[in-house]
Amino acid sequence: MKGRRGTPNQDRSMSRTFFILAVLTALLLIYAGYAALVIAPTEQTMGPVQRIFYYHAPSAWTAFLLFFINFIASVQYLVRPNESADRFARWAAIAIGVISCIAPFFIPLPAGIEPSAVATTGVAVTAAYFLIHKYFSDQGADILALVTAEVGVVFCTIVLITGPLWARPVWGIWWTWDVRLTSTLVLWLIYVSYLMLRRFSTSGETPKLAAALAVFGALDMPLVYFSIWFFRTQHPQPVIGGGGSIDPRMLRVFALNCLAFTCYAGIICWFRYRIERMQRDVEETRALEALLEPRGAGSRGLQ
C-alpha cells in the first residue's frame, strides 16, 4: 500500500478543496434555512407550517437526482464490460438527448409538463452518462451507485417524514395515498431493498446483482406512478403539497434550498465515496496479505 497511489497522506485524508467546499456548503445551508424561516412570505391559507415545504420538496428533488445518478452508474456498470453493449448504451444516451430536444416541440405533451423541462432532462441524461463514463472507472461506477443509493435513502426518508408532518396540521390526516408521496414511499422501499441486497449478499458479483436490481427499480417507477395515479382518480383524496401557482418569492427560496441541499448531498457523497474507496483498499490489502502469509501463521485459527 505504501507508494501505490502517491504518498500515504494523500491516500487517507480529505483534500483541502473538500474542506473549503464543505464550509461554503454549510454557510449556504444556514442561509437557505434562514430564508425558509424568515425571508419567505407566510402562506395565506396554511400559515407558518407551510415552511416545511422548503425542506420537504428540495429533499425530494435531491433524492430523485441521487437515484437518477445511481441508475446511470448501475447501467454503466452492467454494460461496460461488454464492448457492443457499451457502444449501444452510449448511442442510446446520445439519442435520448437529441430526441428530447426535438420531440417535445412537435408532440403534444400532457398538461403541466413544459417542453423545456423534457429537453433539460434529456440533455441531463446524456451529460450524466458521458461524465460518469469519463471520470469513473468500472469499480468507480459501482461505488458511485452505492454511495448515491445510500445518501438518496437518507434524503428520501426526510421526504417521507416531513410529508406527514406537513399534512397533519394542514389537512388533518397523517397520510393519504396520494400519488407523489406514495410513489416516493415505493421508491424508498425499492432502494432500501437495494441496500439490503448489498449488505446481505455473499456473492462475489454483488455489484452486478445490485445494478440489475437498480435497473429493475427504474423500470418499475413509471408503472408505480401510473398505477397509483389511476387508483387516486378513482378514489380522490387531498393531495399533499398541493398544486397551483406559487409566489415568485417562495419560488426563489425553494430554488435556494434545492441548491443548498444538492451541494450538501454532493459533499456527503464525496466523503462517503472516499470512505468506501479506503475501505475497499484495506480489504484488498488484508486479502492479499492473507494469501501471501506462510502456511504456519495463516492456519493458526484452524488449530
Binding site: M1, I52, I158, I161, M278
Partner: protein, 39 residues
C-alpha cells in the same frame, strides 16, 4: 408552529446522525490503514 419545529429538527437530526456515522467510519478506516501500514 409545533409541527414546523419538529419537522426542521427531524431533518437535521437525521442528517446529523448519518454524518456522525460517516465520520466514525472514516476514522475507523484511517485507523485500519495505519495499522496495515505499520505491519
Amino acid at each position: 408552529m409545533m409541527f414546523l419545529r419538529i419537522a426542521y429538527a427531524a431533518v437535521w437530526i437525521i442528517q446529523g446522525t448519518y454524518l456522525a456515522v460517516l465520520i466514525r467510519r472514516y476514522f475507523r478506516v484511517r485507523r485500519d490503514m495505519d495499522e496495515l501500514e505499520r505491519k
